[in-house]
């Protein structure tokens, strides 16, 4: 089938304003949008810039806006759009560096702000080996371990668009992953951080994040659980 691909283009060194280039490419229904981009870059216009790495939905580097929705180009099949017009744009809410590449630094800054690592200064267990955890305790935060930090959720959030200082769903998901981990002792610290004006209370349960997540994490639910933990102090 023939697909008309409209691609957002912007090169800050020459362009004063962004434009859209249209490429007509021959594609198979089972091709991924990433394949279209690779084909355009390889055979039509070598200046097209976009990020990719694994090509299998696990590195999180190719989140972009495809026909208006945030998704991973490597997980988006051409046949699933129900049209042969495909518009590809960079993520919203972050500065465009070139074409489909955005500046992820503000995103990672929010991520780092929630202390996304195990905090536990207590002495190691007697045998000096691992801190054990029951399957049920592990299950408690299983969903939020799946995050690949692609930023599809945070950049689909209207609260984040309105104010980039909002810590955003991805950071809350990664805080959740440790707050509810029975081996961790940093929950109070993280909840304190998320209880600030730019923390969880900026979430208005728009559910855009849950819809955008390529890992199908129940993000809005995770945010609600963090809100509840702040209100009740309960971590179970």
């Amino acid at each position: 089938m023939e697909v008309r691909v409209r691609v957002f283009r912007f090169n800050p060194e020459v362009d004063r304003r962004p434009r859209y280039d249209v490429f007509t490419v021959e594609a198979e229904p089972m091709d991924r949008v990433l394949d279209l981009l690779e084909y355009i870059r390889g055979d039509i216009d070598g200046t097209l810039s976009f990020r990719r790495s694994c090509g299998h939905g696990i590195c999180g580097s190719d989140a972009m806006r495809i026909n208006g929705r945030n998704m991973l180009a490597c997980k988006a099949l051409v046949k699933n759009f129900g049209t042969n017009e495909i518009t590809i744009e960079p993520l919203l809410g972050l500065r465009v560096l070139k074409d489909l590449i955005v500046d992820m630094e503000p995103f990672f800054e929010h991520y780092r702000s929630v202390l996304p690592y195990l905090i536990n200064d207590e002495p190691l267990p007697e045998d000096g080996r691992e801190r054990l955890q029951s399957p049920a305790e592990r299950e408690r935060f299983d969903d939020t371990t799946k995050c690949i930090l692609c930023a599809a959720c945070t950049t689909s959030c209207p609260s984040f668009w309105a104010d980039g200082r909002y810590v955003g769903p991805a950071a809350i998901v990664n805080a959740h992953r440790f707050i509810f981990d029975s081996r961790d002792r940093g929950a109070a610290q993280r909840l304190e951080i998320l209880n600030q004006q730019m923390g969880v209370w900026r979430c208005r349960t728009a559910f855009n994040c849950t819809e955008a997540c390529p890992r199908e994490i129940k993000i809005t639910q995770a945010i609600a659980e963090v809100k509840r933990a702040i209100q009740t102090g309960r971590l179970d």
Binding site: L132, Q133, S134, E137, P158, S159, A162, D163, S182, A187, A188, L191, E192, N195, Q196, Q197, G199, W201, R202, R204, K227, A229, I230, Q231, G233, R234, L235, D236
Partner: protein, 132 residues
Amino acid sequence: MASFTQTLRRVRVKPNYETIAWKWMRYSAFAMIPLVWGHMILQDVIVGVHRIDLDYVAMRWASLFWRIYDALLLGFAFAHGVNGLRQVLNNFIHGDRARKVMNWLLFLFWLVITLIGGAALIAGVNRAFPLP
């Protein structure tokens, strides 16, 4: 076999303005479900807006029950709405100073309207019922 000790994990997070405002939105919303529905069905369906006049208000406020009902409606619904407005405006007003000014203006707005409403509720309609 490994054994696990299930410890109940609890922390204390100091409540702040945001925590309280969030909780207020939830509780007031619960209170508003019966209050607002009752109000709407009575005023808009049973009585009808075109029949609401001073006569009707005097009759309604002749009963302490309706005065308390209206006071609750004023207390819960209006503060809920103004806090919602604050959330919306937060999307557009970003500076710390501007936000402070906005918060104060909203507070004054809330206070003035609530006082006027409260005064009306307490004073009632200053005419004997039934009206001549």
